[in-house]
């Protein structure tokens, strides 16, 4: 190993060593809770909170408030920030209720926007489910028996899971049996999500190990 290249003697290497220090400090939790982990955990929260002020605070205020007023000259925007500042009354016991006016605006708008979301997100899904062909006929010449079986499965699983989630009345007899099947199908779905989550986390872990080996220890691994 070329020690001069490995040691943190240049700005680039110092940057890599900082990254390694952060990674190892976080992984130290695997041994047990310790002061080094707590230090970097607090640093992480501080950095994340500080970073958000740039793109999510200043950028938005500049783009939607400062630029329209001072550069484009649309004066009506002047009232938005003073109105929004009422949010900060939340910390006052006496004036706290005024923050609810702004919170109410956000809540009301979110509720109104949900109608739109429901229609654009859920109705097309319902539509596509109802349009699934369940038999081979002249109307669907390209349909194979395999596709028909899959479509039947799709509808059966959907209905049985929906039955499981119906709590408006007591599930008894055949309904209960369908609901039990629904629960099992739900477990298949949750298992698939669990498997995917594990693989996503493993990909992150592999990324970290790759960083430690490739960037820090300069051991070339993998292709390319």
């Amino acid at each position: 190993m070329d020690w001069l290249q490995f040691l943190p003697l240049s700005l680039d290497r110092i940057s890599v060593w900082i990254g390694v220090l952060c990674t190892l400090a976080i992984y130290s939790l695997l041994y047990r809770e310790n002061p080094i982990y707590r230090f970097f955990e607090h640093m992480y929260i501080g950095l994340a909170a500080g970073y958000s002020l740039g793109p999510l605070g200043v950028d938005i205020l500049y783009r939607y408030w400062i630029e329209p007023i001072w550069i484009q000259g649309y004066w009506a925007w002047a009232f938005v920030v003073p109105y929004g500042m009422y949010l900060y009354f939340i910390f006052s016991e006496r004036y706290g209720w005024m923050s609810r006016i702004v919170i109410g605006t956000l809540i009301g708008a979110s509720a109104g926007l949900f109608f739109q979301e429901f229609s654009s997100r859920y109705l097309p899904q319902l539509n596509s489910t109802l349009q699934k062909p369940l038999w081979v006929g002249s109307a669907n010449p390209d349909l194979t028996y395999g596709m028909v079986i899959n479509n039947f499965l799709f509808v059966i699983i959907l209905l049985s899971v929906l039955t499981y989630f119906t709590f408006s009345y007591e599930q008894r007899g055949p309904v209960k049996r369908v609901a039990i099947w629904g629960r099992w199908f739900l477990m298949i779905g949750l298992g698939a999500i669990f498997g995917n989550t594990v693989m996503a986390r493993m990909a992150l872990l592999i990324g970290r190990i790759y960083y430690l080996l490739n960037d820090w220890l300069m051991i070339r691994v993998g292709g390319g």
């Binding site: 940057s15 004066w75 910390f91 959907l158 477990m187 594990v198």
Partner: protein, 299 residues
């Protein structure tokens, strides 16, 4: 409605003259702050019922605006023959209304940040337990906030992007925050296995189905699944040739990657869709309750 459209279309009413725009804009902003400060004692004189009524009315109007824009038919040419047939009279105001929400959202972010800083400043001032970590948080917050804001302003060419800003932001963001972020989330990889082990110990049909599916998906989506199926067992890869007999078709479709894909697309998708329908209907009910201020504790 026609007046509203007319006002929106009349740029001169809404736009300040170019000559002394900065001065007028500053005066109007100051005036707006004074107006809203002046409103505080007026609002404070309201009795509790009046205060609640204001919150309820504003919540309702905010929701009504977006709901009405969505539900009203877009083609108003029967009533307003000169209007654009692809919109209704509220559509032009949608983008500005969403921008207002963005601004209030940005202010709400400041609120959260203020709460965090206030809590940790209190820890330090009152020297509560482990207050040293609060100093770490505050120092890293102030440093990153400075560099992040300067970097945002540099992107807009308001301040100059010098080497200190460039290198400092790169170290703080690329080599510290991104690394901590990735390490923190990859940490879950270790704990997820202990969670799986605990789930396995619960010997029920549900836990067994869950773990079997998870294993199938995990092995199926990585090269191990393909190796086991196509190299070790020698199953044929790819789609079955046209006109192949039933046995050949089965052989082409029982490889682990194929089964994992089938589980994901044919068994998982309807279960997910059913969950989504439940979430959607629940969300709709909650949206109506919030909009009409029927939900307790909000207004």
């Amino acid at each position: 409605m026609g007046v509203l459209n007319h006002l929106i279309a009349q740029q001169s009413v809404w736009q300040l003259p170019e000559g002394s725009r900065v001065l007028f804009a500053t005066l109007i902003v100051l005036g707006a702050f004074v107006l809203f400060l002046g409103l505080i004692p007026v609002l404070q004189t309201l009795p509790p019922r009046g205060r609640r009524a204001i919150v309820v009315i504003i919540t309702f109007l905010a929701g009504l605006f977006f709901a009405a824009e969505f539900f009203l038919p877009i083609n108003w040419t029967a009533i307003f023959p000169k209007d654009d047939p692809t919109r209704n009279f509220l559509t032009p105001a949608i983008q500005p209304a969403q921008n207002v929400l963005q601004i209030i959202g940005a202010l709400a972010l400041g609120l959260g940040t203020f709460g965090l800083v206030r809590l940790h400043l209190r820890n330090v001032v009152q020297k509560r337990a482990q207050w040293g970590y609060s100093i770490v948080l505050l120092v890293s917050f102030i440093t990153m906030a400075t560099f992040s804001i300067l970097n945002t302003l540099a992107e807009k060419e308001i301040v100059e992007r010098g080497p200190v800003l460039e290198r400092g932001f790169s170290i703080l963001f690329d080599y510290t925050l991104v690394q901590l972020d990735a390490a923190m989330f990859s940490l879950i990889a270790f704990y997820i296995f202990s969670a799986a082990y605990r789930a396995f110990r619960i010997r029920s049909i549900e836990a067994s189905i869950l773990m079997f599916t998870a294993m199938l998906v995990m092995i199926g989506v990585v090269p191990l699944g393909a190796y086991l199926s196509y190299t070790l067992l020698g199953l044929p890869e790819g789609a079955a040739p046209e006109g192949a007999n039933f046995l050949t078709q089965v052989q082409h479709n029982i490889g682990l990657p194929k089964i994992a894909n089938w589980v994901l697309t044919q068994l998982n998708a309807p279960a997910q869709r059913a969950i989504e329908f439940g979430v959607g209907i629940g969300g709709l009910a909650m949206a109506i309750r919030l909009w009409l201020s029927l939900e307790r504790g909000v207004t």
